[in-house]
């Protein structure tokens, strides 16, 4: 069993929290914590400086929390929540990234997604893409097909 898991040939179940998914969830978890801490700090100390940017920070934090939790949970409902959260995250980093380049007054480089996440080594841009790839590979229909095959 241990060898099966180590080589990645474990039976496919309707979960995302196994193998490389565990690394993905860990990185999402770190972003959830750091984005929450940052947004909380910004809103508590200097909210009036740039309300839009700080509300976006808080929104990004919520998206990361939702993605972390939903990826760690099994089942089709949580799968759908994960897809939604990761798609919102991708849209967020693309829209905020673009706006922060075009309009640096409204978006003074103070959210996780500003400049496509440059302040965080562009991981915020990479993360939703890897997330979607992983969600596709572990989609519930693939798990069901593998189970049916195993039952034959």
């Amino acid at each position: 069993m241990k060898d099966q898991q180590a080589t990645g040939h474990a039976p496919v179940r309707n979960t995302r929290n196994t193998g490389p998914g565990r690394l993905l969830i860990a990185v999402y978890g770190v972003f959830a914590i750091s984005a929450t801490a940052r947004a909380g700090y910004q809103i508590l100390t200097k909210f009036s400086d740039a309300p839009l940017a700080y509300l976006l920070s808080a929104f990004a934090a919520l998206v990361y929390i939702l993605a972390t939790v939903s990826l760690a949970k099994a089942g089709t409902t949580w799968f759908k929540v994960s897809v939604a959260a990761v798609l919102v995250e991708l849209a967020g980093v693309l829209v905020v990234g673009t706006l922060s380049v075009l309009d640096s007054v409204q978006f003074p480089h103070e959210t996780v997604w500003s400049l496509f996440g440059r302040g965080y080594g562009f991981i915020p841009l990479l993360l939703p893409i890897l997330g979607l790839v992983w969600l596709y590979r572990r989609r519930p229909s693939a798990a069901a097909a593998a189970q049916a095959k195993a039952a034959e």
Binding site: Q5, G8, G19, P20, R22, L23, A26, G29, S34, Y41
Partner: protein, 117 residues
């Protein structure tokens, strides 16, 4: 950058390289990779104790004090959380989770140094 930062830089980089190497070699987390992450936690404890002593001795923190301690608390939570997460499923991927601790800790230590000075 003070000595505390350099201690965390060295232990963090060593831990990340060891864990990455073990992951690339398709090994599950073992004593060496887990202890390397524990060493990062130990380095953070040294930073914590040193910082408490400096504050008691009257040295001022240039930036926001609670931001500094917030970073410290978060950084100290990461190694135990990663070890817990990695031993629940012992595959090579768990070593990549452990590898993330070292670099994250050194980035946070750099930020903590910026806040202090």
């Amino acid at each position: 950058m003070d000595a505390y930062f350099w201690i965390i830089l060295v232990t963090g980089l060593v831990s990340t390289v060891v864990c990455l190497g073990a992951g690339i070699l398709k090994k599950a987390p073992n004593d060496i990779t887990i202890l390397s992450v524990a060493a990062v936690e130990a380095a953070l404890v040294v930073y914590l104790v040193g910082s408490i002593v400096r504050v008691i001795a009257g040295e001022p923190i240039a930036g926001e004090a609670w931001e500094f301690w917030g970073y410290m608390a978060t950084a100290m939570l990461l190694p135990p959380a990663a070890i817990y997460w990695s031993i629940l499923e012992r595959t090579r991927w768990s070593n990549f989770v452990l590898a993330a601790v070292g670099v994250t800790a050194l980035v946070m230590a750099a930020r903590m140094n910026q806040i202090w000075y």
